[in-house]
Every structure is written in C-alpha cells, then in structure tokens.
Amino acid sequence: MALVTDTPQQQDAGRKTRGTAARNRARNGGPRIGSHIFLLMLVIYFITPLWWLTVASTKDTAGLFGGSGGPLWFDDGFHFFSNLQGLFERQDGIYWRWLGNSFLYAISGGVGATILAVLAGYGFAKYNFRGRAAFFGILLGAVMVPLTALVIPTFVLLSSVGLVNTIWAVILPSLLSPFGVYLMRVFAQEAVPDELLDAARIDGAGEIRTFFQIALPLLRPAIVTVLLLSVVGTWNNFFLPLAVLSDPLLLPVTVGLNGWQALSNAGSGGEALWNLITTGAFISIIPLIIAFLSLQKYWQGGLSLGSLK
C-alpha cells in the first residue's frame, strides 16, 4: 500500500479517527450495543463445544448419557480424577504414550520444518543465486499441491525403504513446509535490510556469522509464527499417521482417540470408553491452547505476513 502520509500526519489521522469513533458511538446511542450482541453470539457459538468438553471430562459414562445437569452442565458426581485414573490404567496408560508421541512428532517435525524454512527463506530473500526464480516458482506451485494427495505415494516410498511404522514415517514428511518458506522469504525481504548485511560483511563477518548474528534476531517474529503453524500442523495431522503407522504404541493422540471412538461405536461387541475419550480429548487440547494464548502477540502479527505483499 502506498502510504503518502508521514509520521506526524499519521498521528494526527489516528487522533481524528478516535474522535470519529467517539462521534459514531454518540450517534449510535451507547457503545455499539448491536456489535457487542453479535460478538457475544459468535463467542457462544465458538466456545460451546469447548465448554461441553470441559464439563464432559468430569463425568462418568452414566453421567454422559443422562447426567442430572444435562449435557451442558456438571453432573452431581465429579469424576474427573477417576477418569484420569482410568487413562492411567487403560492398556497400561497407553494414552500418555500417545500424548508423548504427539509431543515428539509435533516438536521434532515443527522445529525441523522451521529450521529448514528459516534457512531457505533467508537464502531466497537475500541471495541472487542461479536458479532462484525457477525454484521459487516451483515452490509457489507446491503451496497449491494438496498434501494429502502425497500420503499414499509417501506411504509406498517409505515402505520400500522399510521406514513405515517407525517414528520417521511421521517426522520426515512433516519437515516439508513450502508455505513456511514462502512466509519466511516475504518476511526476510522486509525485515533484514541488505545494507545491514553488507555492513557486517565489511566488518569481516562471514556469511554464516552474518546470518546468525544479524539476520536471525531480526527474523524472530516470523520464526515464532512458522514454528507455531508447523507444530500445530504436525500435532493436528491425522491422515499421515493413520496411513503410515500401525503399531498402537507409536500413534499420536489424535489417531489413538479416534480408535477408541471407533471401538466404542462398535456397539455391543466393543467397549464403551466415552468417559476416557472426553477426558483424554480435554487433556490433549490444553497444550495447544496454552501455546496460542501465551504466544499471541507473535502469531497475530505473523499470520498477516502471507496476506501482505
């Protein structure tokens, strides 16, 4: 966007806008009641399932079917801790193993993908090497390739080298993040001035030192965003582990809980694990919610990167 205004004028504009907002508020009578009611309705819609899950994690199976308070309120009995105990006892606490696997896959896949994206994004943004335009063009096309279309061939490839049903079958494909590279390039182009890099070179710093000491600190906001996006992407991935893993001990929590649900739905022959599913689901979403809430000042700005040119 072409900003013609310079700083003092912008400040002036900002002050005027606040004045306008005040005037609008007066005109609409009160602090925009309609907007707030609309937001309240949206918040209720988006938060109800989570509220339901929180409440459900404190119920036993009987309470889930017909608790005294109904589905959206607590039952008479508080069974969260006995459910927790159930999670420790069921198949020798396999749930915690699944949760651990999810952490392993998400962190190794997410951190690895971020490291590759930072290096590549910086390389694309700050060096004019031969073949750059062609490779970046292919990469942009790859952003549009549906990654699930790769799952079945990846499975066949991995099985031909004997990697299927190992942790590598999940971690290695998770390192691929074309969108992360794209974001990092866009960001590096703006945030790392060439003049600064040249100054470091003149002072005798090599390319690697320039990268670590000059560029890396400047890239921090984008790094947090890409890290968060790729950790979440790996944590949430369902299709890939479902296809490449069969050993129950290697499953991430998403695939494991889905298996329990299938077991419970099997009806009379299966077992009703509803209370363990709700408590397990509740515990599994806590880490990501904490990550998002505590890092919000980074990702909120970072997510707009892709949309601005």
Partner: protein
C-alpha cells in the same frame, strides 16, 4: 539489489586498485551461499514432494494383479477414474461443499473481522481470541466433540429444542449430515481466516476513513466500499486456503462416519475413496491415480480462481 554497489563504495582505495572485477567476483561467489541456505529444504522438497509426485504418477500408469504382476496400462487408470461413478460422486460432494462451505466460512470470518475492527474494547479483544480458539483444536478432536454434540444420546440438542417444545433435528441422519459437516468446518476454520482478515484490516491507513466520513459515508459504506476492496488480496488468499482444504476433505467425515451410522459411505470424498482403495483393498495403483487426479483438480481450480481474481489479488 543494493548489494552490488555497497562494497565498491566502501573500499574506494581497493576498488580503484583492482578495477571493477574484484567486487563483481566476490558478489557472484557470495550468491552461491544462497544455494547452501536453500539446500536442506530443497532436499526435503525433492524427497517428500517431487519424488512422491513422480512416483504416484508412475504408479498410476500401472496396474498390478496377482496373475500378471505389474503391467503398464498408460492412461487407463485415469480413464477409469474419470468414468468411475464413485469417484465422480465424491468429486461432486466436495464441489458442493466448496460452493456452500467456503462462502459460509468467509461470511462469518469477514463479518466478525469487520465488527472487531470497528471496536477497540477489551470485549472485542477477548472475542477475537475466543473465535480463534477452535483453530488450536486438532481437527479430529473437533470432529469427535461435534459427534458427541450431534448425538441424540449425548448431545444437548433435545433439551435445547425441548425448551421451545420442538423435536431436535437428527444431525447425523442422511439428509442433514451435509449441513452438520459444514457446521464443523466453519466452526474450526472461520476464526483462523478471521485473524488473517483482521490483520489485513489493521494494516489500512485510518486516514482514509476520515476522508470517507467527511464525505458523509456511513459505517456500512466504509466497510463495504473501502475496507473490503482494500483487503481483497487477503480475501483471495483465504479463499485459496479454504479451497485447497475443502477439496481434500477427509478427517471430519472419516471421524463422523462411526457415529453417523450409514450416513457417510467410505467413498464419501475422493480422499476417503483413495484411502479405502489403498488400505482396505490394497489397490495402490488405482488409489494413486485417484490421488493424482484429485491433486490435478485442486491445482487447476486454485489456478483458475487465482486467474479470475488476478486483479484483486494483485498477481497480474
């Protein structure tokens, strides 16, 4: 790029001694570092994107039977796919989802972002986070939760509708499963899109609104005639994301299949069909053809959309 001139100007003595060759050679040699930085990613890109694509394409040209082994059949698998009523039906399903689900998500995301942009209160900051939170929930868990909420045995629908003396709709029945899935996806993704749109709205210079107010524009006119056109490139990007995601629809119907007894067949979407072919029937060649055909469809549709909106997205 500015890098070419800087070394020359900062070492005037050296530059005059060595003519122009030295800095140029340095510059060119330095650019090779670019490849070193890109190389680790390029390796993964080749191994887990290009190689599987090439491999899938090759696999899709063969057929393997117990009697004859691997046999080259050329485009037969594709001819079979594009005349396979199950695959075509799956494509039709995701096309229908794309036509209904994407506008639904965009509408919620855009209106929420516009309202939030107009308010700057603690309530709006709080709402923004709450609307976004479903994005942090794994899709499987989201689908599991909605499966419970939709269920006549566990869900609150019967008591809520009971308040008005109505019978609760059967969310998991054949007729309503489509809408139920649209709702899950909208719930999960609208907040993420809302944040992207909101960030773009925040990037607009507020001075522009001032001018519009002086000209007598109402809030709604400012929203529709100034804000929306100015963030059109973000909107195009968000639609592309949604399009790519919708055409590969897999997790939600796969998870809901168990609870919605019989309403969702194993071949409901092309991805589910490919998964079933590969892992239930070991038809990896035909499954690859289906995957590849779907990949092409997604790519082509994304490309057509980008082409049609090239003015808005600024990609001319």
């Amino acid at each position: 790029m500015a890098t070419t001139t800087a070394p020359t100007s900062s070492h005037p003595a050296e530059a005059s001694r060595q003519a122009k060759h030295r800095p140029d050679r340095n510059y060119r040699r330095r650019q090779r570092w670019g490849w070193l930085f890109v190389a680790p990613f390029a390796l993964i890109f080749l191994t887990f994107l290009i190689l599987p694509l090439v491999y899938a394409f090759r696999m899709s040209l063969f057929t393997s039977t117990l009697a004859t082994g691997n046999k080259f059949v050329g485009a037969d698998n594709y001819l079979k796919a594009f005349t396979d009523p199950i695959f075509l039906q799956g494509l039709g399903t995701v096309a229908k989802f794309a036509l209904i689900m994407i506008p639904a998500q965009m509408l919620v995301a855009l209106v929420a972002a516009l309202v939030l942009d107009n308010l700057a209160t603690w309530a709006s900051k709080f709402s923004r986070l709450m609307i976004f939170i479903p994005y942090a929930i794994p899709v499987v868990i989201g689908a599991l939760m909605w499966g419970f909420l939709y269920s006549p045995r566990f869900g609150p629908a019967s008591s809520i509708f009971g308040l008005f003396g109505l019978a609760a709709p059967e969310f998991l029945a054949q007729d309503s499963i489509f809408g139920s899935l649209v709702n899950i996806v909208t719930w999960q993704w609208a907040g993420y899109y809302m944040i992207i749109i909101y960030a773009a709205l925040r990037g607009i210079d507020p001075g522009i609104y001032e001018a519009a107010v002086l000209d007598g524009a109402s809030d709604r006119q400012i929203a529709l005639r100034i804000k929306v056109p100015m963030i059109s490139s973000s909107l195009v990007m968000v639609v592309i994301f949604a399009l790519i995601g919708t055409l590969q629809f897999f997790t939600e119907p796969q998870v809901l299949r168990g609870v919605a007894q019989g309403a969702i067949p194993v071949s409901y979407t092309p991805n589910m069909y490919a998964f079933t072919l590969a892992f239930s029937y070991s038809q990896f060649n035909y499954a690859s053809a289906i995957s590849f055909a779907l990949g092409i469809v997604v790519f082509v549709f994304s490309f057509i959309f980008l082409f049609l909106t090239r003015k808005q997205s600024g990609l001319k």
